[in-house]
């Protein structure tokens, strides 16, 4: 596996401490597989309401986790907190053995975050975005990988286009390329396929699977339940900030006593407002 130890800090990496990074704790799941992301007792409260309450889950290496929930269920808050955009209010997040609070930079070096509406730099070309991302994450020999990603996401012809000139779908594709560039250990995706054309969706699906096959773990948050059903190895269903299910689709069907029901039917059943 490429992620047994954290990579040595590159002189190009931003904000890299000069001292040797702490050795990550070995995190193993009950069935003996290495855990890439562990979230324990995570809660987040805004001024007037609790967005997420006592959420715990884990994602193993090479696993794709489908994060599902209605609007306002706390999915984006969870992803943004794991990504380090929001401060961790309560609970613990461990990414590839690095605690997000204690070893923030090492944890973030293993991460990639793709928001639902990526905002590229208006005046930077596609190539310059990749160059900057490589510098930011200390990626070495990134040019060939960048070339490969641009081909996969059909951005080769757009490599001199400015960020401000890209359409929504192109912005999404560029976000994929930037996220994939440094071979992250954990990729967080919030509605990643919105804005993509059918070919783009196909490429993204293949790329997500390939990424997982390479050993990266993926958390995929989406309202497209068919997509989740197709790609995810495991599911995490949240409702009003609380976990209502974590496991495989087979386990979900078993738990809700339906052998053939689609994810959509089960999801609607368990998140149905009371009294309807």
């Amino acid at each position: 596996m490429p992620h047994d130890l954290p990579p040595a800090p590159s002189p190009f990496a931003a904000g890299v401490p000069l001292e040797v990074p702490p050795r990550p704790e070995v995190d193993v799941s009950p069935i003996g597989r290495r855990v890439a992301l562990r979230v324990e007792g995570f809660s987040k409260t805004y001024t007037d309401h609790a967005a997420v309450q006592d959420l715990s889950f884990e994602v193993e290496e090479g696993e794709i986790l489908g994060l599902v929930g209605a609007n306002g269920a706390g999915k984006t808050t969870t992803l943004r907190s794991i990504a380090g955009i929001l401060p961790l209010q309560a609970g613990r997040v461990v990414i590839r053995g690095h605690d997000l609070i204690e070893h923030e930079l090492n944890a973030k070096r293993e991460l990639a975050w793709i928001p639902d509406d990526p905002q590229p730099f208006d005046n930077l070309t596609v190539d310059e975005h990749l160059r900057f991302t490589a510098a930011l994450y200390g990626a070495k020999d990134w040019e060939s990988r960048a070339e490969q990603l641009l081909t996969t996401f059909e951005l080769l012809e757009k490599r001199q286009a400015l960020g401000g000139e890209l359409s929504r779908g192109m912005r999404q594709k560029l976000a994929f390329c930037c996220a994939w560039l440094h071979k992250p250990g954990v990729v967080l995706m919030d509605e990643p396929l919105s804005g993509l054309d059918p070919r783009g969706i196909r490429s993204a699906k293949v790329a997500i699977r390939d990424l997982a096959r390479e050993g990266s773990s993926v958390i995929l948050s989406s309202h497209l339940l068919e997509l989740i059903e197709e790609l995810a190895d495991k599911l995490l269903i949240v409702h009003k900030g609380r976990k209502v299910f974590a496991g495989t689709l087979t386990e979900l069907r078993a738990q809700f006593s339906t052998a053939e029901g689609s994810l959509e039917e089960i999801f609607l059943a368990i998140t149905e407002p009371k009294g309807t």
């Binding site: 190009f12 904000g15 990504a83 955009i85 973030k108 070096r109 900057f132 510098a135 930011l136």
Partner: protein, 573 residues
């Protein structure tokens, strides 16, 4: 910790962004119109800077720096730093633009790296201001070079002070809750400025005196001098920290300058490193601040800084009547009226108060200075004219307000000219109603009548419609908005100037087309009836109808411009 200059990746980002900005300008210049904008804007900027230099050169040069100059420098530095610190209440935490914030927070960067990067960006933006102020100061004082470098270093210190204050305030908010958040920083600054200007005006007009004994030895106003003012214990304490900067700027020899310059540079370095090391988790504050600033930028693009970005629950309860019927035209006009009532109540109230204040002040000051009839007519004419221009400039409840919704507006099932009229009509009627009340109230107060008053009241709504229609037609013709801080400032300045000239020329054409034939009508009627009053009435009626017809043409033109508007192209820079 990373080094003094922060993360290498963020330095790369700065270089790439800088190069990208230049590249964008070069790409724009492929179109000839952008060359024209650049030339016009460049000439305007050069003439402005030239005027500044000429003014500085022709003003009395200070051969030996006296205590007054020293105190003025101290006070200037104090005011600059104080305004910066109070302004930080609006920018708690660290401001990051939308393309940097999520990237910055999720990337392996320390918070110190991000602070260093933003301080570097702010300082780069202050370079031009530092240069300009430095040159102006150099020309006004004896030791030119010393004043230049002094002011330059001072101006580069200001963004660091602002950033430090924003982080400290952010830390305070994290610790003591929302107290800091709700401190009305902007309001304090505005009230302070208004009070200062008011006191200055009153003092300059001998309407207030400095009480005896307030300043050391000040037995009467003649003995009030700036150095005595500065000697007051409280003032002395406030100004004391700025002494090194004042000594540096007003130095007249290298020996007098060097130690203070070294101190200022040292302070700058120390401040930069200290601010970068402030340990505050500013992420949530920054997300809120950045969202707030993004809204403000959006409002600036609409030319509508005074309106709120969102509707409050209290205003939703207001029942907005359907003045213009229940059809498509009525619906568009109702939508606009509701937006005015719900989103811009504060702006409306302030505008109404200003008009009331101007009416009362204008009438009180001129009352009894000339015949009441002349006073009534002249004042009403002035009030209607200036009021229209002022209110239409301040209340942008037109297409600027809908700028970011144009793709939706374009789909509404209404003829473009009708859509144009329905959008601008509420603003026109609102401004007209307020001015109608003001003009009428003034007439009642003076207690006399002049037939011309009917003319003023009859023409005012049409004149407002003319101006708003013309202004909006030109806006739709070239709608790209610019906000301070964006690249292409010179081109935008040139573009704005050309559009201003276009508006002026079109307005001149309207006035010419209305007034010239009306004067002809007056002459003919006067010749036929030999009655001056009848000829005035006839000319007025003709002008009114002509203006109405021209307004119809402008609305048709506005509809054309609306049809021509391309949502894919005509959008914010």
């Amino acid at each position: 910790m990373s080094g003094f200059f922060g993360s290498p990746a963020m330095r790369l980002l700065f270089r790439l962004k800088f190069r990208g900005g230049l590249r964008k300008q070069v790409r724009r210049l492929k179109e000839p119109k952008h060359w024209i904008f650049l030339v016009v804007g460049g000439l305007a900027a050069l003439s402005w800077i030239g005027m500044l230099f000429v003014n500085a050169l022709t003003s009395q040069r200070i051969s030996s720096v006296g205590p007054d100059v020293f105190v003025v420098t101290q006070i200037s530095m104090f005011v600059l730093f104080a305004l910066t610190i109070v302004g930080a209440f609006s920018y708690r935490g660290l401001y990051l633009p939308k393309d940097e914030i999520e990237m910055g927070f999720s990337a392996p960067l320390t918070r110190s790296d991000l602070v260093r990067y933003r301080m570097f960006v702010s300082m780069m933006k202050s370079l031009f201001a530092g240069f300009l102020f430095g040159v102006a100061a150099a020309m006004r004082t004896g030791g030119s070079l010393y004043a230049f470098f002094g002011v330059f270093v001072g101006m580069l210190t200001v963004p660091l002070v602002g950033q430090g204050a924003a982080l400290v305030l952010g830390g305070a908010e994290n610790k003591i809750g929302k107290l800091a958040k709700y401190f009305p920083g902007r309001l304090v600054v505005r009230v302070g400025i208004v009070l200062f200007v008011l006191l200055a005006i009153l003092y300059a007009n001998d309407m207030i005196r400095v009480p005896n004994g307030v300043f050391d030895g000040a037995e009467n106003e003649e003995s009030f001098t700036l150095d005595r003012f500065a000697a007051h214990p409280l003032v002395h304490v406030l100004l004391w920290p700025f002494t090194p900067w004042a000594r540096m700027i007003t130095a007249n020899s290298f020996l007098a300058f060097a130690p203070y310059f070294a101190f200022a540079v040292g302070t700058w370095l120390l401040l930069f490193e200290s601010v970068a090391r402030i340990r505050v988790d500013y992420r949530e504050l920054s997300l809120a601040t950045s969202a707030d600033i993004a809204k403000r930028i959006s409002r600036m693009r609409k030319g509508n800084l005074g309106t709120k970005g969102s509707v409050t629950r209290a205003t939703i309860g207001w029942n907005v009547p359907w003045f213009f019927g229940r059809g498509a035209f009525g619906a568009v006009a109702w939508n606009k009226t509701a937006a005015i009532v719900r989103k811009s109540r504060g702006t409306l109230i302030i505008s109404a108060l200003i008009i009331a204040f101007l009416t009362i002040l204008g009438t009180a000051v001129t009352h009894g200075t000339q015949s009441e009839e002349k006073l009534l007519l002249g004042g009403s004419f002035l009030l209607a004219g200036v009021g229209t221009l002022y209110m239409c400039a301040g209340l942008r409840f037109d297409f600027r307000m809908d700028f970011e919704l144009m793709d939706r507006v374009k789909t509404w099932p209404l003829r473009p000219s009708m859509l144009f009229l329905a959008t601008i009509l509420p603003e026109v009627l609102l401004v007209s109603a307020m001015l109608f009340i003001a003009v009428l109230a003034r007439a009642l107060w003076i207690g006399t009548y002049h037939p011309g008053l009917v003319g003023v009241l009859a023409f005012q709504p049409l004149a407002t419609l003319t101006w708003v229609a013309l202004d909006n037609a030109v806006f739709l013709f070239s709608p790209i908005r610019y906000t301070p801080g964006e690249e292409g400032a010179l081109q935008n300045m040139g573009r704005s100037m050309l559009l201003m000239i276009l508006r002026g020329v079109l307005m001149g054409v309207v006035v010419f087309v209305v007034l010239l034939p009306a004067m002809g009508v007056k002459w003919v009627v006067n010749e036929l009836s030999d009655d001056s009053m009848t000829s005035w009435w006839a000319a007025g009626a003709f002008a009114w109808v002509a203006l109405l017809a021209l307004d119809a043409v402008l609305i048709w033109l506005g509809g054309k411009m609306l049809r021509r508007f391309d949502v894919a192209k005509d959008r914010p820079v």
